[in-house]
Amino acid sequence: MSEFERKPCVYLCEGCGIKDALDIDDLERVATMEMGVPEAKRSDSFCAGDGYETLKKDMESGDVNQAIIVGCSPRVMAEQFRELPGQVIRANIREQVVWTQPPNDEDTQMMAADNIRMAAAQAQNSEPPQAYWDAASSLKLLVVGGGVSGLSAAREASKTGCEVVLVEKSDALGGWAAKWSKTIPGAAPYTGLQENGIADLIKEVEEDKNITVHTNTIIGQTEGMPGKFTTQLVNGKGDSWDVFGSIIVATGWREMDTAKLEHLGYGKSDDIVTDIQFEQRLADGNIPKTAAIIINPDKEIQPFSSGVSTKVAIKQALQIMQADPDAMVYVIYEELRAHGTAESFYREAQEAGVVFQKGEVKSVDGDLTVTVHDDLLGANIPMTGLDVVVITTGMIPNSTNIDIEAAEKGEDQLKDDIRPNLPLITINGEEPEAASDDDDGDVMPGGPILNLQYRQGPHIPVLANGFADSHYICFPYETRRTGIYTCGPVRRPMTIAEAKEDAQGAVLKAIQAMRMSNQAEAVHPRVGDLSYPEFGLNICTKCRRCTVECPFGAIDEDPETDYPVLNPSRCRRCGTCMGACPVSTISFKNYNPQMVSEMISAVEIPDEFDEKPRILVMACENDAIPALDMAGINRRQINKYMRVIPVRCLGSVTLLWVKTALEKGYDGIMLMGCKSGDDYQCHFVKGSAMAQERMSKVGETLQSMMMEEERVAVTEIAISDTRKIADTLNSFGETIEGLGLNPFKM
């Protein structure tokens, strides 16, 4: 039984032109008489001045613990209301009503009144969330991987006051970095071969009392959640268990399969070597008189031709020239990707006498004759008399541990979820077919790094070509396994300097995740949210929809009873599980099927003689709702029959709401979510994709109720569609008016 005793009060804001467009007395009547809110107050502005003082006094005194503020959009003035104790519930009658509807108009008044009804219903069915625990079990950081990325991460975390355990599968720290004779410049003046510096970093880590190092150790398995990752450390001598707050995977990269370099002559001679092998020769001072370095362009052989290969080619060419100024070095490239300040490094090599040659390598023979189609001379040129041919190789991410065999489950986790070759834009509308046929790339070999005991599989999810990277541009450390961050070349090809900065970024996010889970608060994107899903197991049918569809693998299954088990600190509070549950038994304290059903039912549905249809719009609060606000800011007129309910994510929309609305007499329902598919923009990965799939089944149900399929529509609205959203709603309004009213209108 919930002990929260609701003390709601309605605060009707009359400023910003509201009182010139609406009858405030009528609104007050709706809130108090109709919806049973004990008290209503009015002011020209509750965000400042004495209006704000009254609101503040009411809430600080405890008389009011649910302030229903009827006025502008929840996206405005939030800073003012965040300090108030208790719940603040906003009814948007400015951006979505007064700024998009004609003033002093019957339908405008009804829309505003309905927004208040919905807000009151929301208050009646919502209560402030409580933290699921008062402290995390562990605030220790696990770093997997002892190369430059892992070592930097461990040191940076220790410098920020964090205790670290560093696990390295081989018997020595340093990884690849320890093998380089010289390294690429990463800071101003962006020129000059750099010393390796890895030995000092290893020394720092070994002497740091905040860091415990385990070599020859891999992760047996990991279970639990941020703030409580219970992990088994396995090494030859004996396994041990430890509990961590968050995890950084810094497993770096492995060499590509050199068998794929045959067409560039690899294997035909000992002097046709990869850049890694050549590094050893440079370290031994074995300097060739003439050398060709081929920047390997092929996409099929390696995930992609990276900036790193170009910089490595420049470095090695420069090393030869500095050792012997009379040497002849040719760097052969198709696109010279020395981007950004690496241009200075490229110029340094040119100044030293390295010749850069744009062209496609046609063949490399055993006698080291490299035949290049030199684009700029427009001829095939056989280059002879070379002492060595170096081929740059790509970096294959260690998203899996190649030394252990593949796990049975979770194979689909290792397929890239972006089809990289799909043409980006549709031209005159028709769906472009993929540029190359192999849509689902082959699965990466090797076993799981962390062996996560997650229902959805043991691996960390990967993107195209196996890199365990964020899918987002503005949030480079976004991860589908909360509290588990990746850094270094496992994320994307990086030089040592870039990997060190990446380690700093990942450490910040790991410490931040520990702080959030310690306070039972959600991490990005719903930062600070205390609510979490609760499962009414009494009517749970164990259909496993929630455990399968959760984008973040937050819900496991109880091995004995099969019931869903939430790991709260993995959860991002998006509500996709709530939307998945066929019996709507999953709910959040302040966001649940019951609450939204009540909001839907609270709207006054005019009977069929009034000729006034009602359209329910459930819109994503991160993109569609701001777009609707901005349509209001631009004073674009919008269909007057729509009733808008913001949802955390379209994935949280449950079929129950659609059913409730149709039964209540709504004439049309529109769902507005973010773009789905390969270039998805949903902040919760697949919310809008889920909604589209679920709503696709509504069609048959509607037909079985003799209702037209077009009454329920799912559209994709980006935050920039501030023009398109008005047209979409208006044309949907016309479609509904064409279909006529809902036959079930009571």
Partner: protein
């Protein structure tokens, strides 16, 4: 020219010629900075007349194509307008290199008859002998350098122009202007040539 010109390279993309140009042609030290962007050839007012243009010439130097470079028409069409030099994103003195290569080509006998080299020689003859360029003798000598008949034809073409210039008093009648100390100039130039040869 200081060091002697290397012979034709045994293999393509041998850098000996490129390194020679680097050390002996003015502006050559920066030639390897060329990133083949095409601004110079794209800006050249007389570009279409050139067989290779400066950009491709630099690439041919890198490729060790000595013969093709020194016998290319590019070297003789440069109007020395310096547009390529000022626009080169890499700060290479393109005009100086092309004219330097022309100098080498002339010295090594690659210069085609009846082309700029003949005009240059006539020009140099007048400058070194009279200390001044005679605007009448130099063009005439040049016209006849491609053969007597060609000389007559070209002179007739420009007859009208010559008459106009005479009328406007812009073509001197009589002996060519000379400097007073012709002997001194001759000595200086001889000494300079001698110093140059000594440098080998």
């Amino acid at each position: 020219m200081t060091a002697p010109l290397p012979e034709v390279a045994s293999r393509k993309y041998d850098l000996t010629f490129a390194r020679w140009v680097r050390d002996n042609v003015e502006g050559g030290d920066k030639m390897n900075m060329c990133m083949q962007c095409g601004t110079c050839s794209g800006s050249c007012p007389i570009g279409p007349e050139m067989d290779n243009g400066p950009r491709k010439t630099f690439m041919m130097v890198r490729a060790g194509m000595r013969e093709e470079v020194l016998s290319s028409s590019t070297l003789w069409n440069c109007t020395s307008c310096y547009r390529c030099t000022v626009r080169c994103p890499r700060g290479i003195k393109v005009t100086a290199i092309i004219q330097g290569l022309a100098q080498v080509a002339a010295k090594e006998g690659y210069a085609p008859k009846g082309e700029n080299a003949s005009f240059a020689n006539a020009f140099w003859w007048s400058a070194s002998t009279f200390g001044k360029t005679d605007e009448r003798l130099v063009p005439t000598l040049y016209y006849f350098s491609a053969g007597f008949m060609e000389g007559i034809r070209k002179s007739l073409d420009n007859l009208k122009i010559a008459i106009n210039m005479l009328k406007a008093g812009r073509m001197h009648i009589g002996m060519p202007h000379t400097i007073k100390d012709k002997k001194g100039l001759k000595a200086i130039l001889a000494k300079a040539a001698e110093i140059e040869k000594a440098k080998g």
